[in-house]
């Protein structure tokens, strides 16, 4: 046996051992709280019901328009937060139903979604006793068209998080040209005076204006990192057009129904057993080797989903991709074995037939898998831009699955077969499915 093959064998065994270690014991580690993150369709999560106060909407838009705008902004916030495939619906005329897959910090999600994220500034004035107080209304200035306009978050070009001089988390922002025009007048008017920064009608900080600034600024306060992150998300998604109140919160089971999901998992297991049986009966020894490498494929795929559960949520589109990539993994093995059989029938020795089989099958596996990769990359990228997030989940899982299936067929199966052939464990061609 060659050294290279031996080290590959060791590598595969270590990889398999690590994957197995990361998911076993099955129930506590794979399905426990830190295990696979399953989506709303497979596991359920939380349902939040918000009620919008439509009396606070601006008179220039209808109720429907206000609700549609709020739903769109909530969608953006939830996506930004990294929740896979939430369900957001309008209920009745003034309520919004949000279903999120199980996330750890639900109260953070509630605030992120429900707070308006309204940003404005308030100037100082003096009450009748001569004490300085902040005005009760947003600071205004004259816009480019010559009208008086409130300076709010809608003039933001973008906001992002940063760290200040003492490593304190803060939010930086940049105005668009109209916002810069307004901000310049307000800072000029309030030079060396206090100017309050308000988010959701709460004073976040009230710095003294040190210079006339126009295009950018920062918001400091006693923020935690999470708070800064959420505020940035809210500012970038745009302020909600009407305030929301959370009126109901409850846990919900899978949209596909927990009972149905259980049955389907059982069905998939039956299907897999049939598949493995078929492979073994038809291809004999190589089929058995393929079963082992498909087993490794399955365990490693599960381990990837478990180890990256912070970023990977498994939903039905992911399952579709997993089935498809499993099919491709089987296909790659079948392609190779059919080639090996052909070579054996042509009278080659076992060792030569295995090598030739892999080399001949390689272009087909390479080209079909690269074609799939290209489709995955485009679907992932466009799925994100177009807001078709299930397309994105599908593409990501398929990419991982196909890459792994290629590894399984080309590296794992080949290493095992070489090992068996080189050590002359089994040499009878009948074991390779060829009649002698």
């Amino acid at each position: 046996m060659t050294r290279k093959n031996f080290s590959l064998l060791i590598f595969i065994l270590i990889l398999f051992g690590f994957a197995l270690w990361s998911i076993v014991p099955f129930n506590t580690k794979l399905l426990g709280p830190d295990g696979l993150r399953l989506g709303l369709d497979l596991k359920g999560g939380s349902q939040l019901l918000y009620e919008a106060d439509l009396s606070k909407k601006s008179s220039s838009i209808t109720d429907e328009e206000a609700m549609a705008a709020v739903i769109m902004k909530i969608q953006r916030r939830v996506n930004e937060y990294g929740v896979a495939e939430p369900m957001i619906q309008k209920e009745g005329t003034d309520r919004i139903l949000v279903q999120l897959p199980g996330i750890k910090d639900i109260s953070r999600a509630i605030n992120l979604i429900g707070e308006t994220g309204m940003l404005y500034f308030a100037e100082q004035e003096f009450d009748e006793d001569g004490n300085p107080v902040f005005k009760d209304e947003p600071a205004k200035a004259i816009n480019k068209d010559g009208n008086e306009e409130e300076l709010t978050g809608k003039y933001l070009k973008r906001a992002w998080q940063d760290l200040g001089a003492y490593n304190e988390p803060l939010v930086r922002f940049e105005w668009d040209s109209e916002g810069a025009h307004l901000f310049e007048q307000i800072t000029e008017r309030n030079l060396h005076k206090q100017l309050a920064i308000l988010v959701d009608e709460k004073v976040i900080s009230a710095p003294v204006v040190q210079a006339i600034i126009s295009d950018s600024g920062q918001i400091t306060g006693s923020f935690t990192l999470d708070e800064v992150e959420d505020l940035v998300t809210q500012l970038n998604s745009g302020a909600l057009d009407v305030p929301l109140a959370l009126i109901d919160q409850r846990d919900v089971d899978a949209t596909l129904g927990a009972d149905s999901v259980r049955k389907s998992i059982l069905a998939a297991e039956i299907g897999l057993i049939l598949l493995l049986l078929f492979m073994f009966l038809y291809y004999r020894l190589p089929g058995l080797v393929a079963c082992v490498s498909l087993g490794i494929y399955g365990i490693v795929l599960l381990a990837i989903f478990k180890l990256f559960h912070a970023n990977l949520t498994l939903t039905l589109p992911g399952i579709a991709a997993a089935i498809l990539s499993l099919g491709m993994a089987v296909d790659a093995n079948i392609l190779i074995f059919e080639r090996v059989k052909e070579e054996l029938r042509d009278g080659r020795t076992l060792g030569a037939a295995v090598e030739a089989g892999f080399n001949r099958a390689w272009p087909a596996i390479r080209d079909s898998n690269i074609t799939t990769f290209i489709a995955c990359i485009i679907l992932f990228w466009l799925g994100g831009t177009f807001g078709a997030f299930m397309v994105r989940g599908f593409a990501l899982t398929l990419f991982i699955g196909v890459a792994l299936s290629m590894f399984t067929a080309i590296v794992v199966t080949r290493t095992f077969l070489r090992f068996i052939v080189n050590t002359r464990l089994v040499v009878n061609p009948t074991a390779y499915g060829v009649k002698t």
């Binding site: 359920g44 349902q47 957001i88 619906q89 309008k90 209920e91 009745g92 409850r250 846990d251 919900v252 089971d253 899978a254 949209t255 596909l256 129904g257 927990a258 009972d259 149905s260 049955k263 389907s264 069905a267 998939a268 039956i270 299907g271 897999l272 598949l275 078929f278 039905l316 589109p317 579709a320 991709a321 089935i323 498809l324 499993l326 099919g327 089987v330 296909d331 079948i334 392609l335 059919e338 052909e342 001949r360 272009p363 087909a364 080209d367 079909s368 074609t371 799939t372 290209i374 489709a375 485009i378 679907l379 466009l382 799925g383 177009f386 807001g387 078709a388 299930m390 397309v391 398929l398």
Partner: protein
């Protein structure tokens, strides 16, 4: 030796017929959109004594609402279904109470909007089309040493469109005949069909490419035919193994994923068929410039030369 390529006109005829029916049905009936896309009525029900989730779902189907999505929340059932009038609501809840032998003690009805924006399906379609163009270019590049590499890409994409149209057409007909509705799951299933179809065709093409390089026969039709025969075992075995999983899911899986599995099933059959009987033979027709004959071979037309 079986002559697939020689019988290609029959395969084309069969596919053409199915696709014409598919397109006609899609144009006339479209696809029946599910609650995901249309919105509808949501209700919160609590039964005493408690009923089983599967039982309740079955009763909704029996009472003419197979589209109902039944979710559990504590002891309550959250149900989303097609928009129904207050009268329909009454008869529906009465029907549930009698058939389940249980009383509904809490109920709450609301109209709900679509949970998936109408343009999601369209955007997914656009994404797939752009991906198809990219795949066409890659296949053309992968087959760059072959004469006229773009034909290979084009034929693979034609086989892909063939499969997608057949799946959509069948579900359009099912929508009309059996009220089958398409949900987000349908889009997911279609994406898998796209992946399966292209993968299968590329593998078949690879064999033709290899045999072209070997120069097994100067006649392109013979080369394609023997390549298809050589990959036949692999094609059937791959389909059979995938079929094992899909069929098991279809027969024993939960009722809520039936539609999804059905899409995969139809796509698998169509994808296997098109990679063998459409993509390769189409290459031959193109190579031989037999497009003109495509109409003369209609059985009741004049005999082909």
């Amino acid at each position: 030796m079986i002559d697939f390529v020689g019988k290609k006109k029959w395969f084309f005829l069969l596919s053409a017929l199915v696709i014409i029916i598919a397109i006609t049905s899609l144009a006339a009936f479209k696809l029946r959109p599910g609650v995901d896309f249309t919105g509808g009525t949501s209700m919160t029900l609590r039964f005493t004594p408690q009923v089983e989730q599967e039982q309740l779902r079955q009763e909704f189907t029996n009472l003419g609402h197979p589209e109902a999505i039944v979710q559990m929340s504590g002891g309550d059932f959250l149900v989303r279904l097609k928009e129904i009038s207050p009268q329909e609501r009454e008869s529906l809840t009465e029907g549930l109470e009698t058939s389940l032998g249980s009383e509904i003690i809490a109920r709450d009805y609301n109209t709900i909007s679509a949970s998936i924006a109408a343009n999601t399906a369209r955007n997914a379609g656009i994404a797939v089309m752009i991906a198809a163009v990219a795949m066409l270019f890659y296949i053309a590049w992968a087959f760059r040493r072959m004469p006229k590499p773009f034909r290979w890409g084009a034929c693979a994409i034609i086989a892909l469109v063939h499969d997608v149209l057949i799946v959509m057409g069948i579900f359009s007909i099912l929508g009309r005949m059996a009220n089958v509705e398409v949900s987000a799951m349908f889009i997911t299933g279609l994406l898998a069909v796209v992946g399966y179809s292209i993968n299968n065709t590329v593998v078949a093409f690879d064999r033709i490419r290899e045999n072209m390089v070997k120069g097994i026969n100067s006649d392109f039709a013979v080369t394609v035919n023997s390549s298809l025969l050589e990959t036949l075992a692999r094609s059937l075995n791959t389909s059979l193994t995938t079929l094992c999983v899909i069929l098991a899911l279809f027969l024993f899986g939960g009722s809520t994923i039936h539609l999804f599995v059905a899409v995969l099933l139809v796509g698998l059959l169509s994808g296997t068929y098109s990679s063998l009987f459409i993509a390769g033979p189409l290459m031959v027709t193109w190579e031989k410039g037999e497009w003109g004959q495509l109409f003369s071979w209609v059985p009741f037309g004049k005999k082909p030369v």
